[in-house]
């Protein structure tokens, strides 16, 4: 945390923290990939974690979801959750769209969506309402309900992955590199839908390599480099070209 410069943002004057992460360390076997990372996500914001390839961005999300070995403290909605298993975290509303989207190709689009609501106990009515919302957000998914999910285009699969996560009724949506393999125009579409979700009050933690895209909808950003948080900033501050250049050329503060 020593290298991190903290900055209070005007629009989040007294935000309530939905996710508070302290000293999160993640290891694959004996290799430590994340080194004592601390950060927080405010209720209702879109937080972006930027960083070059191999910085540990995906690992960060996987660590939050208990999919890699990790230590540190994680508080979600005030509760310590670092001892919970992946499925329990999802049940609590921490839902991730994983790297590579995790679409089940042989199943139909609709089956994939239904899997999203697998653990919900709040009744068919609420689930159907969310399904309608997803279909409003992504009309193409409605048209292709009975199609094999594997036959969708990359962009549609990303929509399906997000839609499926929405059906889990997330309190915090974790998105791992949604732009991967998508044409800029398709990515714009995805970003628009994320913005809509944000406007409806959904909190989003977005991990992205393509900073200019992600910063369009972000309120705050962290930059992760070599498993450390190098910068924390207002998204607007990072949106300038020099800031981005610094970020990828390896500057350790944002001046």
């Amino acid at each position: 945390m020593s290298e991190t410069s903290r900055q209070q943002l005007p629009e989040t004057a007294a935000p309530s923290v939905i996710l508070d992460v302290r000293d999160l360390t993640a290891t694959y076997g004996r290799v430590e990939v994340l080194h004592s990372v601390s950060f927080h996500v405010n209720e209702g914001e879109v937080l972006v974690v930027l960083g070059p390839n191999g910085a540990g961005k995906s690992t960060l999300l996987r660590a939050l979801m208990a999919q890699v070995q990790r230590t540190g403290s994680i508080r979600f909605q005030g509760e310590p959750v670092e001892k919970r298993a992946t499925d329990q975290l999802a049940g609590a509303g921490l839902i991730m769209v994983p790297e590579g989207r995790g679409i089940l190709g042989p199943l139909s689009v609709r089956d994939n969506l239904d899997l999203g609501s697998y653990m919900r106990r709040d009744g068919r009515g609420a689930i159907n309402a969310d399904l309608d919302n997803v279909f409003t957000l992504f009309p193409r998914l409605k048209e292709r309900q009975s199609q094999r999910a594997g036959s969708l285009s990359g962009g549609e699969q990303q929509m399906l992955a997000i839609g499926r996560a929405i059906l889990g009724n997330p309190k915090l949506l974790l998105l791992d590199e949604p732009s991967l393999g998508l044409a800029p125009r398709v990515m714009d579409e995805i970003l628009q839908s994320l913005e809509m979700l944000k406007n409806r009050g959904l909190t989003i933690l977005l991990v992205e390599q393509k900073a200019p895209l992600a910063l369009k909808i972000a309120s705050r950003a962290y930059v992760l480099r070599s498993g450390h948080i190098a910068i924390e900033a207002n998204a607007v501050d990072l949106a300038s070209e020099e800031a981005l250049a610094k970020l990828y050329l390896g500057a350790h503060d944002h001046g």
């Binding site: 499925d87 199943l107 653990m119």
Partner: protein
């Protein structure tokens, strides 16, 4: 699909949810049922006895397909549950004079319990490690069948196992076994489809597709894998019990490593994960000795060659070949949504 249950075949009274989707699929399933129902009229006694064995193998294969196909796991050890079910039935009906159905119920229960105990630990393993652990399970079962002579009579085996029956009604001919066991196979197919179409089945499919993504959706993968393992062990126990009754004799070799090889051949030749496929595979593999005729001594070689050929040239198995062919023949007009 609601009309397929009116199919006139007694041995495969298919409930509505089985044959799904297209006309061609319906035709394939009904044809299979008709062929199964009609085969005894043309088969020799030798072939008929092989077909009864095929139906027993089919029960085992459907169960294993639930764990390997639908859930995407691997087990080299389901012969252990077949052995447990078979020996429980053999011992209870001979030494303790239990009626066959009670013995069958007990066989299922004890296999389920064994699967739960074993599965809790082993199913935390993945891939090769799970394969090795289950392989060990089969070897342990085999060794126990050999060594626990006071129960199993070792290599000499248990003889004089009564035929399957309820009270005075006993199955006395191969023909009777044929229809009864094929009805059990139909029930097995039906149950397997019911599971596949259920909430649990979708979750199993998710685990097969991507276990991590599945858990991120809130699916408790460990518990669901255990459920699939346990259900498939129950199928194996039923098959083991049927085997004991049908042959009337049980020795450790019946459930040896050969059985595992056979099962894998059935699953892959027929088409893993397709439910019908392993049944077709069971028939094809069980009939191989008859097909090879004088070359039957080389059947292990034939299994190997066929398995290789299927994996190389038709990796999705015989059922997919048949289904695709039927689709081309009968679904030309519709734009053909592919299944599976």
């Amino acid at each position: 699909m609601a009309d397929s249950e009116s199919s006139a075949t007694p041995s495969l009274a298919l409930p509505p949810r089985i044959a799904r989707g297209s006309r061609s699929m319906r035709i394939v399933v009904i044809s299979m049922a008709v062929i199964i129902a009609a085969l005894p009229f043309v088969a020799s006694t030798y072939v008929l006895s092989l077909l009864v064995l095929a139906s027993i193998y089919a029960v085992l294969a459907i169960g294993l397909d639930l764990f390997m196909g639908q859930t995407g796991q691997v087990s080299f050890g389901h012969n252990a549950f077949a052995a447990l079910g078979g020996y429980a039935t053999a011992i209870l009906t001979t030494a303790h004079n239990w009626p066959p159905l009670a013995a069958l119920a007990f066989s299922i229960v004890i296999s389920v319990i064994a699967a739960l105990i074993v599965g809790v630990r082993t199913l935390q393993l993945r891939g090769h490690y799970l394969a090795m652990a289950t392989l060990a399970l089969g070897m342990i079962a085999y060794t126990l069948a050999v060594q626990l002579t006071s129960l199993t009579n070792g290599f000499a085996g248990i003889t004089g196992i009564a035929p399957l029956g309820i009270g005075p009604l006993e199955l006395t001919s191969d023909l009777q076994y044929y229809y009864v066991v094929w009805i059990i196979v139909a029930l097995g197919i039906w149950s397997s489809f019911r599971i596949k179409d259920s909430r649990v089945g979708r979750a199993l499919g998710a685990i097969a597709g991507n276990e991590e993504a599945a858990s991120a959706l809130g699916i408790n993968a460990a518990r669901l894998k255990l459920i699939a393992f346990t259900i498939s062990a129950a199928y194996a126990a039923v098959a083991g019990a049927l085997m004991a009754h049908f042959i009337g004799f049980l020795s450790p070799e019946v459930f040896g490593l050969d059985l595992v090889t056979l099962l894998f051949a059935m699953l892959f030749v027929g088409g893993i994960g397709t439910i019908y496929g392993p049944v077709i595979g069971a028939v094809l593999i069980a009939l191989l000795p008859a097909i090879l005729g004088p070359l039957a001594d080389y059947r292990q070689l034939a299994y190997g060659v066929i398995l290789l050929a299927v994996i190389m040239f038709a990796p999705s198995g015989a059922f997919r070949l048949i289904a695709d062919l039927a689709e081309r023949l009968f679904d030309r007009s519709s734009e053909g949504e592919k299944h599976g």
